[in-house]
């Protein structure tokens, strides 16, 4: 499992916040600045999982036009919806 204390995966996360949609670039940049340091390992793993989604699917979830297929994602998604 990845952990933010692990510099390497943290750096990887930074880069994976570079997206095809400007909207996501902006929101993820805010999310990382506000929340990344405070996430525990489990939450970080969920965030990494969210980053794996296609841009438009992730954006729809963030904008509440779609709900995540798995409730496991909801708490971190809630933070992302709020930034």
């Amino acid at each position: 499992m990845s952990s933010v204390s692990d510099d390497r995966s943290r750096d990887r996360i930074f880069w994976h916040c570079r997206r095809g949609l400007l909207e996501l670039d902006l929101l993820l940049q805010r999310f990382v600045a506000r929340h990344l340091d405070a996430l525990d390992d489990g939450q970080t793993a969920v965030f990494v999982e969210l980053l794996e989604y296609d841009d438009n699917d992730l954006f729809d979830m963030v904008m509440k036009r779609a709900e995540p297929v798995n409730e496991r994602l909801s708490p971190v998604l809630a933070l992302l919806r709020d930034v």
């Binding site: 510099d7 949609l21 400007l22 904008m63």
Partner: protein
């Protein structure tokens, strides 16, 4: 280049957006050994943002033909587009779209099963008579669907992807032939030479040179920077399309539908200024008229905000219910990116950079070309370009909506076809690399790794974006442009001494951003200098001191060279391939 690892391919494609994927498919299906590099996972390329559609005169909804499409494109380009290339693109459009359909692209359909088509600005029936339905779309996810369709197809054809690899420089030999690229693997921080018989740039646009941009952060014009550093000129870089209403400070687009539903623009005095600029249609005037009026208000000190930097888009008078019903999603977008609820407060907006018309000069076969020094043009052996980073030029001074996705398909494919021809025809084995193939790149990296002080990448980037926005934006003022040239030259000097504190190798985003800045600077310089020199208004290049198009002196393409910031010009190709020319006329709609 002693200890730099090297790998060999038939072709290297830099970029995995719509154009790169379409080109790569052509190559892989011809059983060539192809490497496709991308800074991000292919389906996260910026093409994913395209919603509106892709144009083709299929005539599924009403009679249409490629010649009408060609007329619209020539006129849209404000007669700077090359008519041979435009004919080529419009003739191939239907096949390109149908081919994509066969690949499995989920286009919206009519009841009779044919592809559904919708109207889009600038596309008309019978040479400008009335709007026509020519745009094919997959819901509001056309670019997304296109990328996924092409990506799947490439996987099937065994295209080899190098994901999270950043190409840094082109390799050219003494003769000027391009022999591959030097690239950085982000995960390891290692640099490698990818040697190839053909190198195809498909790196997309560079909209991030402006502080107000609809482009994603990765759109840093890397292919243009690579070409410029290798001595290849950039064509028509003064032409950038702006959208009137991007959220100030964010760039996120606010749809024109907001004004269609009755929203209007205000300056800091609460004045509905569009009444002065366009008394009858007011806020519903065409994009360029609205954007120019906004820029004028800001320039003359009537912008709102602390520094007078934006315009207010008011729609609260419509009421929350109407906004929710007719403009779904707008309130959420405004809350998230402008921090206002438009049901009570106006949205701060500015003219926002959207699309780059210029790029690496190519012919219709995607081959990069440059002046031969004897009044003619020569093909740069081994180098090809397609998509937003290329200038064929089909968009001339102004792109028509939905013509860009078409450009990716048509010229991605034709570039791929040309590579297949060239490789089998005359390049059997890989030419030798010059001994200094990676030297300049390694020196650039070494400087960055060793510098412990200097200019911060963010500071220089911000100054560049501010300068471009203020001095070379949607409406260009003479005194301001001259000052902009000076400022950009100074910013470019500063960019030579950037430094980063994080010297790690693995996924070092700071290093990547420093390298991206090098590319942005080339793009910004070329834009500023080309714009300052062009003494006319044409398409997206709009000058207050030369308000008219000047076909006698300026119906020509600009070529900017990095060395000495030198400019040259080349004629517009007015002669189509098979039909009569469309003679220049005033561009009125």
């Amino acid at each position: 280049m002693g200890n730099i690892a090297r790998r060999q391919f038939d072709a290297v494609v830099v970029g995995a957006g719509g154009s790169g994927l379409r080109a790569a498919l052509q190559l892989a299906e011809a059983n060539l050994k192809v490497a496709v590099l991308s800074k991000v996972f292919p389906t996260r390329s910026h093409t994913v943002a395209a919603q509106g559609g892709v144009s083709a005169s299929l005539g599924n909804e009403e009679p249409d033909n490629w010649h009408w499409h060609m007329y619209d494109t020539v006129k849209g380009s404000d007669y700077l587009g090359d008519q041979d290339a435009i004919e080529f693109m419009c003739r191939k459009a239907c096949d390109a779209v149908v081919e994509l359909e066969h690949y499995g692209m989920p286009f919206d359909r009519l009841d009779n099963g044919k592809i559904y088509q919708r109207p889009f600005g600038g596309h008309t029936s019978n040479y400008g008579e009335r709007a026509i339905k020519r745009a094919c779309a997959a819901a509001d996810r056309t670019g997304h669907a296109m990328l996924h369709t092409l990506y799947q197809r490439n996987v099937r054809a065994h295209t080899q992807f190098f994901v999270e690899w950043m190409a840094l420089d082109l390799i050219r030999n003494q003769a000027g032939d391009v022999l591959g690229v030097v690239a950085l693997e982000m995960e390891t921080g290692e640099v490698m030479i990818l040697q190839a018989k053909a190198t195809l740039l498909a790196t997309g646009g560079a909209g991030r040179i402006y502080s107000a941009s609809t482009n994603a952060f990765i759109n840093t014009g890397d292919g243009l920077g690579m070409a410029a550093r290798a001595g290849i000129p950039l064509e028509d870089m003064e032409f950038w399309q702006f959208h009137p209403t991007g959220v100030a400070g964010a760039g996120v687009l606010i749809t024109e539908g907001v004004r269609g539903e009755g929203g209007f623009l205000l300056n800091k005095n609460g004045e509905r200024f569009m009444e002065r600029y366009a008394p009858t249609v007011k806020d519903l005037a065409s994009r360029d008229v609205v954007a120019r009026a906004m820029a004028t208000e800001i320039k003359e000190g009537r912008g709102a905000g602390k520094d007078g930097e934006y315009i207010l888009l008011k729609l609260d008078h419509l009421g929350g219910d109407v906004i929710d019903k007719r403009l779904p999603g707008i309130r959420e977008i405004a809350k998230k990116f402008a921090n206002v609820d438009p049901a009570t407060d106006p949205i701060p907006v500015v003219p926002t950079c959207h699309y780059q018309m210029g790029g690496v000069p190519t012919n219709v076969a995607g081959q990069a070309v440059m002046p031969d020094g004897k009044g003619g043009e020569k093909i740069i052996k081994g180098l090809y370009a397609a998509g937003e980073c290329a200038c064929v030029s089909v968009h001339g001074a102004n792109r028509l909506g939905t013509n860009s996705l078409l450009d990716l398909l048509v010229f991605g494919k034709s570039a791929g076809e040309q590579v297949v021809k060239d490789i089998s025809a005359d390049v059997k084995s890989l030419p030798d690399l010059p001994a200094d193939a990676a030297d300049k790149t390694m020196a650039r990296l070494a400087r960055l790794d060793s510098a412990t002080s200097g200019e911060r990448v963010n500071d220089v980037g911000a100054e560049m974006r501010r300068t471009m926005q203020a001095h070379c934006g949607v409406f260009r003022f003479p005194d301001s442009m001259a000052e902009g040239v000076k400022k950009m030259l100074a910013v470019a000097e500063r960019a030579k001494s950037t430094f980063i504190t994080d010297k790690s190798k693995v996924f070092n985003t700071a290093r990547v951003e420093a390298l991206e800045l090098d590319n942005l600077i080339e793009v910004a310089l070329s834009t500023m200098i080309s714009a300052n020199a062009r003494q006319e208004s044409r398409g997206a290049h709009d000058r207050s001191d030369f308000p008219n198009r000047d076909d006698v002196n300026w119906m020509k393409h600009t070529l900017w060279y990095k060395e000495g910031n030198r400019l040259e010009y080349k004629p517009v190709q007015l002669k189509p391939m098979t039909v009569e020319s469309f003679e220049p006329k005033p561009r009125v709609y």
